[in-house]
């Protein structure tokens, strides 16, 4: 039987980085192939070669159903039936949802004329078919990352391609949407089509894939059939060693001292009477469905967004936070969920990004301490195992997961009393995830208070001492870790709006 797709001998060299070396990959018709590997292993690069975005080094071959092809560019790839959902969002923020869906697509215009009414209708139908509720007329830039991700997925599905690549599609999604996505994937795969699925979330790999191929350091390690192996084995193929995974926190909160206290927080748009405390050495997890308002709580406490009322106390002192600078000064750090827009300076290097929030410690009278910056930059990039030739590399040239590590390093360097991590392990591989968990635990031991927002329930359960669950801009419950299960969290997260209003009334 001919394979739907075969990649042979693919290499790709960037200045100073051999991203791929003689990689092989094959995809059967009718299957979902998982692609796993640590951050920087070369997964995204391989997929970009496949879809015509990068030119591979000479010698690479791409075979589609037994025919050798040369993919010239994005459109050519699409003509060949190849489409991709990129790891980073690729949406045009100033256009509407429908306009984005049909941007650049053959048949989206009649002799140069575009018909927005038609597009809105088509988009509406598409969303109905996929069971999503998104307003086709909404401006993309006004949607949350998760919604934008859903639009990307809808767009990719609507191409009716033979081969669809999804590069970490669920990184921004919560359980409910992930389940919906899996439904769509199952509908998509037919005896004529195939799908390549990249994710760092092993349960997803286990659930959705038929086979899994593994890359390590730009090299092909092997392919296994999902049913036949334990996830542990895949993980050890990826990282070259065993990674153990506890399900629950390994330490207890010992202090009663409250480092962060939020009282009666309200915002114009969404939040309603938010109250919570974080103790010294505690991780307070925030769970909830997409759009529940977790990010908004974080941004508001930190000072990135205005609040209409509410008080914030740090270390028992009331602080007046109106801007992000106030937040940082009060000892709060905030790691954003959207690193590209809110976290990174893509055209600055690793060391500059690492110390960005702590410049006060890296200057004397306004003069920069370059040596100290280099030392600290190197220290943290080693500690977090950022895969890079040097700390002088521009952030834009790192893999997504490695970029995430640098943003984390930024807040570690700053050494705040309260750290708010919004999706801290988004796009981070299993090995590194454990490192970050260990890091969070270390921070706890140092007596910091941590708020961790995560859409992965296992992660929330694994890390949080207590779990606040949000729905519709309210906290619907705060659970002790011992009492929390995936089921009762979901129950609190799906409390209806009407119910909430009733309770309040």
């Amino acid at each position: 039987m001919t394979k739907l797709l075969e990649l042979k001998n693919v290499s790709k060299t960037f200045p100073g980085v051999k991203a791929l070396q003689n990689v092989h990959l094959d995809l059967n018709a009718g299957e979902v192939l998982g692609l796993c590997g640590e951050n920087g292993a070369g997964k995204s690069t391989l997929m970009k070669v496949l879809t015509g975005i990068y030119k591979p080094d000479p010698g690479a071959e791409i075979w589609l159903q037994g025919e050798k092809v040369q993919v010239r560019d994005v459109n050519h790839a699409r003509d060949l039936g190849l489409s991709i959902i990129h790891q980073e969002l690729n949406m045009v923020p100033d256009l509407t949802v429908a306009q984005n869906l049909y941007l650049g697509r053959p048949g989206s215009h009649k002799a140069g004329w575009v018909n927005d009414a038609q597009m809105n209708r088509d988009a509406g139908e598409l969303f109905d078919k996929l069971g999503m509720s998104v307003d086709p007329k909404a401006r993309i830039g006004d949607l949350s990352v998760a919604r934008q991700q859903m639009v990307e997925i809808a767009r990719a599905l609507s191409y009716n391609s033979r081969i669809l690549v999804m590069d970490e599609p669920t990184a921004a999604l919560t359980i409910a949407e992930t389940e919906a996505l899996f439904g769509m994937i199952r509908d998509f795969v037919t005896p004529e089509t195939g799908l390549i699925y990249i994710s760092h979330r092993m349960p997803e790999i286990e659930e959705i894939t038929d086979r899994v191929s593994v890359l390590r350091d730009g090299q092909y390690v092997g392919t296994v059939t999902t049913d036949e192996v334990e996830m542990r084995e895949i993980i050890s193929m990826m990282v070259g060693r065993e990674v153990s995974g506890d399900a629950r926190p390994r330490n207890k909160v010992t202090s009663d001292e409250i480092v962060l206290s939020v009282r009666d927080l309200n915002t114009k748009k969404l939040l309603h009477d938010i109250n919570f405390d974080v103790r010294r050495g505690e991780i307070l997890g925030f769970a909830g469905l997409m759009g529940a308002g977790r990010t908004e709580v974080a941004r508001c406490v930190f000072g990135a967004d205005p609040r209409t009322s509410g008080e914030i106390h740090v270390n028992g002192k009331k602080v007046d936070i109106r801007t992000a600078a106030d937040g940082v000064r009060a000892g709060i750090g905030y790691l954003s969920e959207d690193r590209k827009t809110f976290g990174l300076l893509l055209d600055q290097d690793i060391k500059a990004n690492t110390v960005m929030a702590a410049m006060k410690d890296f200057n004397i009278g306004g003069f920069i301490l370059d040596n100290k910056i280099r030392t600290v930059g190197t220290e943290y990039s080693d500690r977090l195992r950022v895969k890079t030739p040097s700390v002088n590399q521009l952030l834009g040239k790192l893999s997504g997961g490695n970029q995430q590590k640098v943003v984390i390093a930024k807040w570690l360097v700053r050494n705040c009393d309260v750290l708010i991590f919004d999706e801290p392990t988004r796009g981070i591989d299993v090995g590194a995830k454990e490192e970050i968990y260990a890091l969070l635990e270390q921070l706890c031991e140092q007596g910091k208070g941590i708020v961790m927002i995560s859409s992965e329930l296992p992660e929330v359960l694994r890390m949080s001492h207590r779990i606040a669950v949000m729905a519709h801009g309210r906290i619907t419950g705060i659970l002790e870790n011992e009492d929390a299960t995936q089921e009762n969290i979901m129950e609190l997260a799906t409390v209806g709006k009407a119910q909430l209003n009733g309770e309040v009334a």
């Binding site: 045009v92 100033d94 575009v114 114009k268």
Partner: protein
């Protein structure tokens, strides 16, 4: 169309500024409160306005066009070459077409330099600004070229509708065409998409280089039309004129609410922006204010108008 018009006007808060400025002058500038003055203002802003319509597309892509001022003069000189009795003396239609073609070629060169050679728009069009100025002077031999073609002059100064100069009609028609281009065609859609996120647009399969070039060509054609309105108004071209017009053009676009960082554009805004600048000039002149003070006042009013626009925009988006 009317829906677009309505929604655009709602977005153009700077429209309120225009009204306020106008009312102010009706009260304080002698003889200002006549309908003919309003018509004068539209007529006098027509050529900058038409060029600003084209520049709106360029700015929507996140680019800039500094060559629009001297490029206009160059195109007007070429119109003189095509049409003037002392030169080629071509029939009107041929001369007009060729002039628009000159504009398109200027735009094409800008577009190719920017899209295919990867030059920053600022540099590419700055170079074109110098080259166009030089060529205008070389071709005209530094002399005023007069275009005493009565059909040509009628284009701008004739009155198809009695009392309303044709320049005004052309301005209105071009504004409608520009609004349609921006909101209803691929050109506008892709211009906005490129300005909003060029990489994502490219990854959506849009031939970004091609469409960027098209945008500059379109701007070149609008520029040539501006050149025609400008030179047909009085029937002559002064080849050294045009320096600094690019700032007026860009100012009209930006005052109208189109963002220089690209991705958002507003055609009605551009028209209002051009009218504000001309109303200020006319009103202050008619008040007999010393010109140095006119500069100061204009600067401050522009600041306030745009500031009020921003505040109202912000308020609208958070309510």
């Amino acid at each position: 169309m009317s829906r677009i018009l309505r929604s655009s006007i709602q977005q153009v808060f700077v429209f309120a500024a225009l009204i306020l400025i106008y009312i102010f002058f009706m009260i304080f500038a002698p003889n200002f409160a006549q309908p003919t003055i309003a018509l004068d203002i539209v007529q006098q802003s027509a050529y900058v306005g038409v060029m600003a319509l084209g520049a709106t597309f360029v700015i929507a892509t996140g680019g800039i066009d500094l060559s629009v001022g001297t490029g206009m003069t160059f195109a007007a000189v070429m119109a003189g070459v095509f049409l003037s009795g002392d030169w080629m003396n071509l029939p009107l239609a041929a001369g007009l077409l060729l002039t628009l073609l000159v504009g398109a070629v200027v735009g094409l060169i800008n577009g190719l330099n920017i899209s295919y050679l990867g030059l920053p728009p600022f540099i590419a069009t700055l170079a074109m600004m110098m080259v166009a100025r030089g060529l205008a002077l070389v071709i005209s031999d530094k002399s005023t070229i007069s275009i005493k073609n009565s059909g040509y002059i009628w284009l701008a100064s004739g009155e198809l509708i009695p009392g309303v100069k044709n320049a005004i009609l052309i301005f209105i028609i071009m504004a409608i065409i520009a609004a349609v281009l921006l909101n209803k065609t691929l050109l506008g859609r892709y211009a906005l998409a490129i300005g909003s996120n060029e990489e994502a647009t490219r990854l959506s399969g849009v031939n970004v280089k091609f469409w960027k070039t098209m945008v500059y060509i379109a701007a070149g054609v609008f520029m040539a039309l501006g050149a025609i309105l400008y030179s047909a108004r009085f029937g002559f071209v002064q080849p050294a004129e045009g320096v600094g017009f690019e700032l007026n053009v860009i100012a009209a676009v930006v005052i109208g609410g189109t963002s220089l960082s690209g991705g958002r554009a507003n055609i009605i805004g551009t028209v209002v922006g051009a009218l504000i600048m001309e109303t200020l000039r006319k009103g202050l002149q008619m008040m007999g204010i010393a010109q140095e003070w006119q500069l100061v006042v204009t600067g401050i009013v522009v600041l306030i108008a745009v500031f009020v626009d921003i505040v109202r925009r912000k308020r609208q988006s958070t309510v």
